[in-house]
Symmetry: C2
Subunit: 396 residues, 2 copies
């Protein structure tokens, strides 16, 4: 069984079989034609007034999407680079921090904090569940006298398919002096997020998820409380120095040469998101997720997660079929790319992303392909039920 097996000398062969590729992964995601067209425009110099004007509009749009009046800083980076920036810029060696670990991306934050010599307290949450905010309250109260300087939480954790309750956690963290830092790399523009109202101090995101662009840009949104911590923070940093990025943004400049074509793309994607309406974008993702879950469970498959994020559905593999086999077959027969499990879930689950440039019929198409492939593998289920249930959600 091959997974998207491809002879290196024949890189384009699979495209001849399936000229239409459906990237149903939880990032990177599909890119709208409008965004592609925008990215074709001539490269303008990043120190030109023209580019500054563009960057101002991107800044303004991202403020609306993060729901913040704070500073927006833009880097050529993946989301992980922005997580590192959140550690480097607000803390000093030995600082005590609390990482809420609800999956692969919580793990990543633990590793970054350790790489920079922080004293890391980890609230381990069973994979597939969101954190109970009361446990954070309890951990913070246990640490009295040993000041926790930052609480790190993942908004939507695509490795397990859960969403943490950032609003409730914010109410708890704001009662302390700790900074509240949120990885909303996959959450932004896919699930409700209100940085300022929820008391988030530092939000991190990237271009290739809800923002419907190719990967290449990372974003940090920073509150006043965070800037105060920044002035005391002594960890070494250069490329991801947020304070110099802030200085540059006063003239709508990035500190280093940015991924200009992707800035063009984000500029266009923001227009698409705001014209659809951010609330409608969130509602669309909710609807996609409900339809997908209804279809999946009607096919006699089970969901891995208990608390569901609206941008990804994590499905336990049916008995006797590995994720690699199932994903390989669906790619081979239909040109649909689903994601494998990450870390300890590798080959045990498959992950269907429905974020960004995805509509209701993409869900139906994916379920249709899955139905064909599941039957091939001898999975027992009520044929047609998955599509019927999903259509009921879509219709309703």
């Amino acid at each position: 069984m091959v997974i998207d097996d491809l002879d290196n000398e024949n890189l384009y062969e699979i495209e001849l079989n399936h000229p239409k590729h459906r990237l149903m992964a939880p990032g990177p995601t599909m890119v709208p034609e409008r965004v592609k067209m925008a990215m074709l425009r001539s490269i303008r110099h990043h120190r030109s007034q023209y580019f500054a004007g563009l960057l101002e509009q991107v800044r303004d749009g991202l403020r609306e999407i993060f729901r913040t009046d704070g500073d927006i800083l833009i880097f050529t980076s993946s989301g992980t680079g922005m997580l590192e920036a959140a550690v480097q810029n607000f803390f000093s060696e030995g600082d005590r921090v609390l990482v809420v670990n609800t999956g692969h991306f919580g793990d990543r934050w633990v590793r970054i904090c350790q790489a920079y010599g922080l004293t890391v307290r980890v609230l381990e949450v069973e994979w597939g569940r969101a954190v109970n905010p009361k446990l954070i309250e309890q951990r913070l109260s246990e640490e009295v006298g040993r000041e926790i300087k930052g609480v790190f939480v993942t908004h939507t954790e695509t490795s397990t398919g859960i969403e943490n309750d950032i609003e409730e956690i914010g109410k708890i963290v704001r009662e302390t002096d700790a900074l509240f830092l949120v990885d909303t790399v996959s959450g932004l523009a896919t699930s409700r997020y209100q940085m300022d109202e929820w008391g988030v101090d530092v939000s991190l995101s990237a271009s290739q998820k809800g923002l419907m662009c190719p990967p290449g840009l990372g974003f940090a949104a920073v509150s006043e409380k965070a800037w105060m911590a920044n002035r005391r923070a002594t960890l070494p940093r250069f490329y991801f120095d947020l304070a110099s990025a802030k200085d540059g943004m006063a003239d709508f400049k990035t500190p280093w040469t940015p991924a200009i074509s992707i800035i063009y793309g984000v500029h266009e994607a923001i227009k698409m998101i705001l014209s659809e309406g951010l609330e409608n974008v969130w509602e669309r993702h909710n609807k996609l997720a409900m339809a997908m879950r209804a279809g999946i469970t009607a096919m006699n498959l089970t969901l891995f997660s208990i608390n569901h994020a609206p941008n990804v559905t994590v499905v336990n593999c049916p008995d006797g079929v590995t994720s690699k086999e199932l994903r390989g077959k669906i790619l081979e027969r239909f040109g649909i790319y689903l994601a494998d499990g990450q870390g300890r879930l590798k080959d045990r689950v498959f992950r269907i992303g429905h974020m960004g440039y995805v509509d209701k019929l993409d869900v139906i198409a994916t379920l249709g392909a899955l139905e064909v492939v599941l039957k091939d593998f001898g999975h027992i289920f009520d044929e047609g039920a998955g599509l019927r249930e999903a259509l009921d959600v879509i219709r309703g």
Copy 2:
């Protein structure tokens, strides 16, 4: 006088006046149509076998272009991020290093080394001149007993328009235990560069210069000697961790989500470069530079630099005209973007980039525009002489 003044509500107005934008800056540079077309292709997941096949070809191509058998590591980053990676991955706090500072990008390396607590020795070179390799030999011999662990040099320094003699410097550094680290961000695929033959241990570059792509990707090429130093290096690092990037490249994976569309672009650009022939690419840049310098000096303008790089021409502003005025006028009238001076040269020089997707007639067009604008400013020169001299070089 405005420089590319642009009403923010009318972002596209300047394009109506000048639908053809000529970006004659020393990076970012113009992007070929073939590369743009490649970047339009559907986003493929970075953990797919398809993408691994692509990455293998990019790795192989970059090895040819760096002229190395060493490891090639790919990051979503600007060139500066790769300079930081070169510091983080091979040194420990307090290590003594020598930075050869021939301009703005030499300065940048000094600042990064200082940010990470290295003991930085700086060989200051007058701006506009290449370093005399004998001075490096002298400095290294003065430091006997106080081991210099790394020598940092900029290959082509676009702020001043010079090129350092990497081959000669390599002969000196290889007599010591120090690593030889070279910023060839602008030099790669514009000027002769032979990493292995010249004894370079770490080479850094990026996508938006000689590689003719939009900015977004950084590249590091690493020798065996450098990996030995890496194992002892204790500076904190995560996103730019080269050893984990090396592990990933064993399966043709990047550690984090890469700028996929720009990988497509680099894949295509490599094909263009290798089909032109790397030696021919270098020779083309030489010819462009000779034609540009012949034209500029025939227009009664003077060059800022003494030792010339083939990818940029740095020109002293004529009496009574600032760089801002001259660049603003040439943009306004002809849609050509020239770069300002950097750092201490701001407004005193203007910089004409001729790297990447630039041909002989782009040089002629730029000189033509310059002739018109210089006359408007009342500059005294032999009209027509610049174009005539440049054409003579091109013809010859």
